[in-house]
Amino acid sequence: MALLEVENLSIDLGEFHLRDINLTVEKGDYLTVIGPTGAGKSILLEAIAGFYPLRSGRITLNSRDVTNLPPEKRGISIVYQDFVLFPHLSVFDNIAFGLRKVERDKEKVKGEVEHIAEELHISHLLHRKPGTLSGGEQQRVAIARALVVRPKVLLMDEPFSALDEKTREKLRKLVKSVIAEYNTTVIHVTHDFEDVFALATRVAVMKDGRLVQVGTPDEVFSRPKVDFVAGFVGTNVLKGEVIGKDGSLTLISVGGVVLKTADEAERKAVLSLRPENVLLARDPGLCSAQNVIKIRVERIERRGHVLWVHLDGKIKLKAVITPNAAEILGVKEGEELYAMFKASALKVIA
């Protein structure tokens, strides 16, 4: 039996609707939810927390129907992008806030608060007021406040968005270890795919108030089910025809180029290739990659801390590289390069 089950959930907010959401979360899952702004990710989280009345559908938690339970009876904690620490309470009192509702023993409360503060490296901040802390510190306090009550599910709505890249990196590691210690089930909304790769066991993609795909990160990123997901997660999608076999590999002709894949396919095939798996080189040389294509750099686009290189030739591809690598290689728009990728990175998705 799944820990959390959302069945046919619909919400009507006048201008906006969540429609027929079906979602199952197992105990210990780390589910990330991605999708464009305005897709309804925050609303879905807050609906699970019990902040919106449903138009229809059912939410069960530990096999218990919680659809009509108020938020305070659900045992679901939430962490927001902007921390929302109570400004009139000290860090200690913020963390102890939920605990005090269920635990009368002051020593026990103190022990629990101190323990989680240690886990999240905020022991030295317990006497301070939240207004005096940095963003990263505030978010660690917010996570402590949410986790210390040992929620059945922890919801996080873009928890790292307000932080700089370095702090984000650190916090991911901390969250990972503390989640493991508290054995918490997490639903985490993010627009940063790093969160997905670093933390998620499963990913859900939302668009226009609907869930369009749910699966493991590998399934979603390498085998996107619909064009929207492919476009959103940046996966290269290629269409071609099977022309034969080369040992265990399948040969597929795409736009006049013959590509090799480790997957099986017959006649027409739709292929996907993660842009992270495309390597760029000045000369083809000797390499283990089965696919080497001469291709032109059409456009270079900065996204966060990486560069997306749009390539064009007989086929179109996108590659992701670091600014550092781009400099070493001297990648410039309009130049010819070689794109390489392994046969195992090229997946047949249809």
Binding site: E46, A49, G50, F51, P70, P71, E72, R74, I76, S77, I78, Y80, D82, V84, F86, P87, H88, S90, F97, G98, K101, V102, H127, R128, K129, G131, T132, R145, A146, V149
Partner: protein, 265 residues
């Protein structure tokens, strides 16, 4: 160059205007002779009027805040049918001249079935001390509700959602999170309400009648004594009004400082 000239001009403007204002206030304090003020301060009438002013203004402030909090909160957090109408009607008295507000109240409590019913139960509003409180209440209420409403608007509902998710009911959340976070704004609206209640005149005069040593509050004392040509008494009641309001504001700033000090830890 151009910018500099504008800057100098605007600073000059601010200085001249402030000086003018200051002179006006100073005149109030320096025109009468000190002995005259002292005598007026000790008069039975002045003491009566000050006492009555403080009591009625405190009462109406208390009522305004107690009733204003749930109304301001409901307007900021919940949607209900007729909400925008409620908002407009609450703002209405602000557009009314005080005298007209007083007249409306006089008609309501004097000439309607509602007024008769109240008076049958022994609740007499017209030309009584209770009338002072009622008039002050309606004069100050719309302003207070505005400030309280804005205060709650500025608190993100997410604070409440977090508290709810941590096991607190709606009311517990209001008490433990919303109210403490609204403290500054509620304090401000208390002071504004008190100052407005102290100074309320037109509505009080019409509804409670400005009768000597009966429904006589400080603004009424000022008015009555001006009419009798009793300048010393009139000025003194003006000074007392200003001083009381000033003390209220000082108190407010002190409390607010403490508040901020606490937040800064």
């Amino acid at each position: 160059m151009e910018g500099l000239r504008f800057r100098n001009l605007s600073v000059l403007f601010a200085l001249i205007f402030t000086l003018f204002l200051f002179t006006a206030v100073a005149t109030l304090f320096f025109v009468p002779r000190p002995s005259e003020i002292l005598k007026a301060l000790k008069s039975e009438e002045m003491i009566y009027s000050l006492k009555l002013s403080l009591i009625t203004a405190s009462l109406s402030t208390l009522l305004v805040i107690l009733i204003g909090i749930p109304i301001g909160y409901a307007l900021s957090r919940f949607s209900f049918p007729g909400k925008s109408a409620v908002k407009s009607i609450l703002d209405l008295p602000m557009a009314f001249p005080e005298l007209v507000l007083g007249l409306a109240l006089l008609l309501l409590f004097g000439n309607t079935a509602f007024g008769k019913l109240l008076s049958d139960f022994g609740i007499k509003v017209v030309f009584t001390k209770l009338g002072i409180v009622v008039a002050q209440f309606f004069t100050a209420f719309p302003y207070a509700v505005r400030v309280i409403h804005t205060t709650f608007e500025e608190i993100s509902p997410r604070y409440e959602l977090v508290a709810r998710s941590l096991g607190y009911t709606e009311f517990e959340t209001f008490r433990k999170v919303t109210l403490p976070m609204a403290k500054g704004g509620l304090l401000a609206s208390t002071i504004i309400t008190f100052a407005r209640s102290m100074g309320a005149f037109g509505a009080v005069l019409i509804l409670a009648g400005g009768s000597y040593m009966n429904t006589e509050i400080l603004p009424v004392t000022l008015y009555l004594n001006i009419s009798y040509g009793n300048i010393g008494m009139a000025i003194t009641s003006g000074i007392v009004l200003v001083v009381v309001s000033f003390l209220a504001i000082l108190l407010f700033e002190k409390l607010e400082d403490e508040e901020h000090g606490a937040v800064r830890g």
